[in-house]
Symmetry: C2
Subunit: 177 residues, 2 copies
């Protein structure tokens, strides 16, 4: 670990798919949403829109039935559904990238608060059914992803490719240019 | 400001488009790339690939000529070009979201290191010309964005919509569920 809390959080954050029954406070969810709100977006168009579904909301089961990860959806204390507002969108690539920045901000916020979370992407394969099932207008809104959130019930583990394998040419001499 | 360095960084980070002539060390660029490497991606497919172009590299001028933000490209000490590896991609939405998470990790890393950076998206409008001009294979790689990086030469300023205007229904009672 470095002495840099940002770099530490980025590297230590893991997808958490098991949760305890402990509650998540509104203030914690709001801190996540605030982090999402401050993401960058192309032309600062902020295409993201949020819907929070708690474990006591019947829509949790609706969502669970629309993904093969229903067990994770049911175990979560909070589901943060992130939509793209089609009236704000201007570029498929850039709007989805913005959503990704927004989601990552929220995942890092959750980690920083001691929460566990996982980014559920498979559920968007069932679009526009998910949006419709939530009572929202699919001509206006498109689901980008759902974050399942709770108190961590596992440590989480993951791996990444070596940086050298991601570089299109070698980098890392000793000059400072 | 809160006592949470992650939430603070997310909110304090701004796009920086003016840079001083001070150098950026390889170690700082590597810390950014490391942060990008640890982003989440759908099926952990890690579709991102990186190319670093420094101010002494003739490709900086090539890139500057392919965007209306050429002045920012020329002023940057370092350009971090992020590509999607088409052989790793599986979903346009999810792969672009992953790239967005990767880019945001790098922007937060830059901020945490005292660097300034801006996410340049307009340049991908000139794809596949940009990829070809860099000598890369556009059948394999697609430019997702370029980060212009340097020591901050301005403070930066931005705004965001109020959270209430982003919520698809009211949120924030006082229960903890």
């Amino acid at each position: 670990m470095s002495a840099n809390p940002i770099l530490d959080a980025v590297k230590a954050r893991r997808s958490i798919r098991r949760f305890t029954s402990e509650p998540v406070a509104d203030g914690e969810v709001l801190a996540m949403l605030e982090a999402g709100r401050w993401a960058p977006s192309g032309q600062n168009n902020q295409p993201w829109r949020f819907l929070v579904v708690r474990a006591d909301d019947p829509r949790q089961e609706v969502l669970a039935g629309l993904t093969k990860y229903g067990a994770i959806v049911r175990a979560a204390r909070v589901l943060v559904c992130v939509f793209l507002d089609k009236e704000r969108c201007y570029s498929p690539a850039k709007d989805q990238q913005g959503a990704g920045a927004c989601l990552q901000n929220m995942l890092l916020a959750a980690h920083s608060l001691g929460l566990g979370a996982v980014w559920l992407g498979e559920i968007i394969n069932q679009e526009p059914r998910v949006t419709t099932a939530l009572g929202l207008d699919p001509s206006r809104l498109e689901l980008a992803a759902v974050l399942a959130v709770g108190r961590p019930g596992q440590k989480g583990a993951s791996t990444r490719e070596a940086l050298a394998d991601l570089m299109l040419e070698p980098f890392g001499g000793d000059h400072a240019g």
